[in-house]
Symmetry: C2
Subunit: 386 residues, 2 copies
């Protein structure tokens, strides 16, 4: 019985994780979880999962839920997430949080010796150096939950690390892959939210369209698999059937493929190094898909991917700026405050104008994160670019 703390229980990773856990009640139990705004869904989960501990967004929510569910302990904010992630009985922490908030609880969980199943890529984008060093010191596995990183991780099993010469991350191209940059000027929030292959949260769906998501994945892969950026390539693959690949020294590629089913990488992280049937199974037939396409990435069409490589190579606090600016800009786009192309513009501006003298300690990263958010929000409110 693996006891799990699930951070971000009402999001799409959270929901899929709960399906996996409920399919194998003798193997997994969620003993703690967190949710933020979706109180209604959170309340249902408390009823069905009967967790030991729940972290919510605010003190007010914690207090009112504590009255309603006297058998469960409640906390809130970052402290609440950290408590959930470090409970004595927890074996594994699955972080399905969205955004930079994932970093601190993950670090706390590693310090407490918990295995990590990581869906929150911002954790490594911001704190890759800190997180991987802590995991190494504590001899903790960081198990990827993102389908691309899980694919690479699955391909790497049984391979000699020194014989892996390249990671190839596939990109669907997102909801606007067939639009020119000229056409992007006019796109709506609704259109942006139509991902061709995956059903995911809003923020990551927008990030797929801008390829900021792919950029974050490149940076995540850099840390997770200890690879130079020159060894990480992105390839456009519309069908998302090949979830990602590795190239070996002899020119052979190994790929992991299958249905676009988030339960597969989630379950693999939970059962690793073993596998189990997905229940209920999602049928998948190569011959029904028929055709797989592979295309070169056009970095002029997707400048945020080029920028992600750039901030990744610069390192230090740059990926934090890139990520924070993106979070603020995407939120503003979803609130219809700025246009789609303004997302890119604000990220580029934030990266270009960086002149803070912070180092990449946890405190330094969190400070840069906050300062970037403040600055980008200010620009947006001033209407610098719409």
């Amino acid at each position: 019985m693996k006891q799990i703390a699930l951070l971000g229980a009402t999001g799409s990773v959270g929901k899929n994780t709960i399906q996996v856990v409920q399919a194998y009640p003798d193997d997994f139990r969620i003993v703690a979880f967190s949710f933020y705004q979706n109180i209604k869904a959170g309340r249902q989960l408390i009823e069905s999962l009967r967790p030991r501990y729940v972290a919510v967004g605010t003190e007010k929510d914690a207090l009112s839920l504590a009255k309603e569910f006297p058998k469960t302990a409640f906390g809130y904010g970052i402290k609440g997430l950290e408590t959930a992630a470090t409970l004595t009985e927890v074996d594994l922490v699955l972080t399905g949080l969205v955004g930079s908030i994932g970093l601190q609880p993950t670090l706390a969980a590693i310090e407490a010796g918990k295995e990590i199943a990581l869906a929150n890529k911002e954790t490594l984008v911001m704190g890759g150096e800190l997180v991987m060093a802590a995991a190494k010191q504590k001899k903790i596995n960081i198990l990827p939950v993102d389908s691309e990183h899980s694919a690479i991780f699955q391909c790497l099993q049984g391979q000699n690390q020194a014989e892996v010469q390249r990671l190839m991350i596939t990109a669907s191209g997102g909801s606007f892959r067939d639009k020119t940059r000229e056409q992007l000027k006019e796109v709506t929030v609704e259109a942006a939210l139509q991902h061709p292959n995956w059903s995911m949260g809003k923020k990551i769906t927008i990030d797929s369209a801008t390829m900021v998501n792919k950029g974050l994945e490149v940076i995540e892969a850099h840390w997770l698999f200890d690879r130079e950026y020159s060894e990480i390539e992105v390839i456009l693959h519309r069908e998302s059937v090949v979830h990602s690949m590795i190239e070996l020294t002899d020119g052979a590629y190994l790929a992991q493929l299958g249905a676009s089913d988030m339960r597969e990488p989630i379950q693999y992280a939970l059962t690793y190094p073993n596998r189990k049937k997905i229940v209920p199974a999602q049928p998948f037939d190569f011959t029904e898909i028929g055709t797989l396409h592979f295309e070169k990435i056009d970095f002029h069409r997707f400048p945020m991917l080029a920028l992600a490589y750039e901030v990744g190579k610069k390192g230090k606090v740059y990926p934090t700026i890139f990520n924070a600016a993106n979070e603020v800009a995407v939120a503003a786009f979803l609130q219809r405050k700025i246009s789609y192309l303004a997302i890119e513009w604000y990220i580029q501006k934030a990266v270009d104008e960086y002149n803070l003298d912070e180092n990449s300690t946890l405190e330094g990263l969190l400070a840069v994160d906050q300062q970037t958010r403040k600055k980008v929000n200010q620009w947006i409110n001033e209407g610098v670019y719409r």
Copy 2:
């Protein structure tokens, strides 16, 4: 330094093996080899490789070459192949022989404790039970050299055997894949020899067109990977980029992909469990290939694949009959004695009319092999079907 006996040195597997060996002279040395009809190429190889021992087809050839090359020992026939495969200094035997002649020297090599790199699929088609039992007893690796089986073998590394639920062998469909059965009535030898993706020997190129080759591969996979026929599937994949796949219990697929370069599986068998650069490398770019297709196999269009599953499941001497009838019929087709569709007809007839009372000992298998050849040759000479 791995010392190699190369059976079938002048064929396409042999030539590619020599390229691999010559790229890494400090790692590999061919100390013995065999060739059959191509005396000119064989003589050149003796000069360049300076082997300890060479096996040829006939006593006459052995005697005349022995005079010419006094520093090399010569033998001939099955005994010659067995001697080459069992020399004391040999570490690994690579059998690139064509047809059923591969079985006896492979068994002899296993008995002598040599590692086996197997390109001769007929060895396992005929003698799968004997060969795998001997290899198990002697704790010998049978390393696949066929691109499909090497792909599966590469995907299986690091995986738990019990979590592999299916092997998926890809088939290009061969030179006539876009022809109807009606159109097959008129095809020529020249057209049959135009394989769309791989440059190989004549016999295997014809076998690709009839899919007898894919059938032999299914039977080989059954033995090599210890899998039921229901767990082995063939899928039509025109580009031969995905060399084969495995499906795991959680619905994930692992695939091995790359250039259609025979040196890759050959070299992997020689370097296993490690890998080395292919020298010179064959450039490969997914985005240049662009599109990969997958289609269901039409068993009415390719009845020999259905028949291969049938003889595989029946087991015992049936695969030997299937294989022997095919060898004779393909030779007759190449000599323009029979039509393309007659190949299938004679194989089916041989399997249908089998009523010999032989068991599947080595002697029994060899007897059935000989009797089938005799019978099919007789039918062909009588012109039963053209």
